[in-house]
Symmetry: C2
Subunit: 390 residues, 2 copies
């Protein structure tokens, strides 16, 4: 194992009817809240009323601030920080998916400083403090409820960058799987593709076998695939939804790749340009990127691909007697079949991308690989992997 | 899944040469430390000198306090708290195994209150605050470095009770696997039996299958068994020692049984009297208790025993075509064989206990099952399980 530091100061409150504790927990942290959310849909579902009743019930004054976008925007976050400063608010209650929680983290930083918020994302300024956040996760996928990262888009410069700090972990995260029962099945499939990708990234880039982390990752992957299989035919299955919700939180929290030498995120480097330039869900982009990346990398990582095939996908019998490269091909084909089974695209054309702007995607991927510290890929590699997506 | 809350405010710093950060991290928390440790062996190993140099190097004043016992005693902890109060210390640096860290937690509470320390353990008094703790784990087994529990013995009343609170998680835990290279192989086998028992308890008492938690637990168990196998022939194998150290921390942290309905700790209830009344290592007691408990419980948990046999112990082929009860017997026999292989006892006589005081053990087990909230066992059950240990 390599050296690592791991911390998760967030308190997780998981289960049914847990929002009964929202007011009290919030009041223990702050008395004047920014109530941040995305779409008006939380009003239809009754969640809005629950949050309002909880805050009022515990005497927490709040300023409401909706309109967070799926790719949250820096200008919207800056406006949120202004509201906080004007009203002397001391806590953010973020109700929504990863976008809302990501923006809450950006606002939490902006509220404590005078510098333009984007400066922190482009490393022109650094921060140590942030307002406390109480998160209510409604669209599990990104682990934002259990990590210290925030990805924001600067709509003026078309840049999408991130910050990462111990200061911006939510203080408390409420994970009520019953809030996820009505998430459309297709959205859930994209979310599971994303969750799995968070686990696969470290698994396939690991410099060798790490039995402890491998075993945990394999178990979580199997659980996510199994739970999605249930959701496909029984979308309101609470147990399966619970599995997906808790797996999503753990998958990108840092724990499951702690100590894994070599772990990096090339598939995210390759995917961000796709969902950035084309109007593609992140999960749909990942199910295109991952098989292409595996095909390109298989000469050096066939052993890891076989392990994944055997232990996660249960392909032991199909792999018997095959050479490592033959076996890797089988695993990749089966993975593509599984993506088709859950109706996520495996080639660009299936996502409606007829002619990829390879130059633009490659440029952005090169920039991202530097920004995120993903070594080992030159322009030629990246172009070749994009070519495998056709 | 059932509702749960999970929090781990401890920062883990894992790896080689991490103690270079001990002084700085401690100085960020407090300026006057109680340096708590157990035996003088840390002086021979050089660890004592490292800690002293680190604290002095960052200007942390410290009062040294050694002599923590393997079953840490309440009187020794009270004396530690007195030293803290007299010297106005503001942080505890605990260097040792689970006993030292457990006692640090007790001292951390006692230092903040005037009540007798034991009152907190027998629930006569409650606490909300505690002095911050910096832990350096040297004997991984109990997860004390990553949980909020402390088990202490009152030598006056012969009672062994525990406290549990968010307030007593270490602020920072240093896990340097190179410090564990010289732990004797037999001690390591007992430690691994303990680590595995922490994982098995929830696995075998679960009310049904929980694919997410099951998968993680199975993976960690396989990793621990594999790493111990390496240590048996190559005791100074750093990678195997790293696996055991990180697995130990995670195994009893609450994470891996989060949401698992039914999870309880009957094997610990049955074991504590054994190691309490007889001079038996906790891990040696567990390898006697677990097979007996499994034999007694197999009619109701055969399915879970088979899963463990297949997924953790790789017994799939041996279990083919067997009835659940036949299969459970095979798994239990194989588990006993594995305990024999690592030289931990599977029957009382192998631990030198010729005639067990069943009355005394049963009485204590009954009391513990109430204290720890382990339902479903009456006196007859407990006597029957002890009988199966012969």
């Amino acid at each position: 194992m390599q050296n690592f530091e791991w911390v998760t100061p967030t308190k997780v409150i998981f289960g049914s009817k847990i929002l009964e504790k929202l007011g009290k927990k919030t009041a223990g942290i702050g008395k004047q809240a920014l109530f941040l959310y995305g779409k008006e849909s939380i009003k239809k579902s009754g969640l809005y009323d629950t949050v309002v009743a909880q805050l009022k019930g515990e005497g927490v004054f709040f300023v409401e601030y909706g309109g967070v976008q799926p790719n949250p925007r820096i200008s919207h976050a800056e406006e949120g920080a202004r509201k906080i400063k004007e009203n002397h608010l001391d806590v953010i209650v973020a109700v929504g998916g990863g976008s809302v929680i990501d923006e809450a983290k950006a606002i939490a930083v902006a509220a404590c400083y005078e510098e333009p918020l984007w400066d922190f994302f482009i490393r022109k300024a650094s921060f140590k403090k942030a307002l406390p956040i109480v998160a209510v996760q409604t669209l599990p996928a990104t682990s934002s409820e259990l990590n210290g990262a925030s990805v924001m888009t600067n709509e003026a410069t078309h840049e999408k960058f991130s910050i990462r700090s111990e200061a911006i972990y939510p203080k408390v995260s409420f994970l009520d799987p019953s809030l996820t029962l009505d998430i459309p099945v297709q959205y859930t499939a994209y979310a599971c593709t994303d969750i799995l990708s968070h686990l696969m990234e470290g698994y396939f880039t690991a410099s060798s076998d790490f039995p402890l982390q491998d075993g945990m990752v394999e178990g979580v992957c199997r659980a996510v695939m199994g739970a999605l299989e249930i959701v496909l035919t029984d979308p309101r299955n609470l147990e399966a939804r619970s599995t997906i919700m808790w797996a999503a939180a753990l998958a990108w929290n840092g724990l499951l790749k702690s100590g894994v030498e070599g772990a990096s995120i090339p598939n995210h480097v390759l995917e961000h340009p796709l969902s950035g330039f084309y109007d593609l869900p992140h999960g749909a982009g990942l199910s295109i990127v991952i098989p292409a990346w595996l095909k390109y990398m298989k000469p050096s990582i066939a052993h890891r691909i076989l392990l994944y095939g055997e232990r996660v996908m249960g392909l032991g019998k199909k792999l018997e007697g095959k050479t490592p490269l033959e076996g890797a091909d089988i695993v990749i084909e089966e993975l593509e079949d599984w993506y088709r089974h859950i109706h996520t695209p495996v080639h660009l054309k299936e996502a409606g991308i007829i002619s990829l702007d390879v130059d633009a995607c490659t440029n952005q991927a090169m920039a991202l690989s530097e920004y995120w510290g993903v070594p080992g890929y030159d322009e030629e590699d990246i172009r070749a992997i994009y070519a495998l997506m056709n």
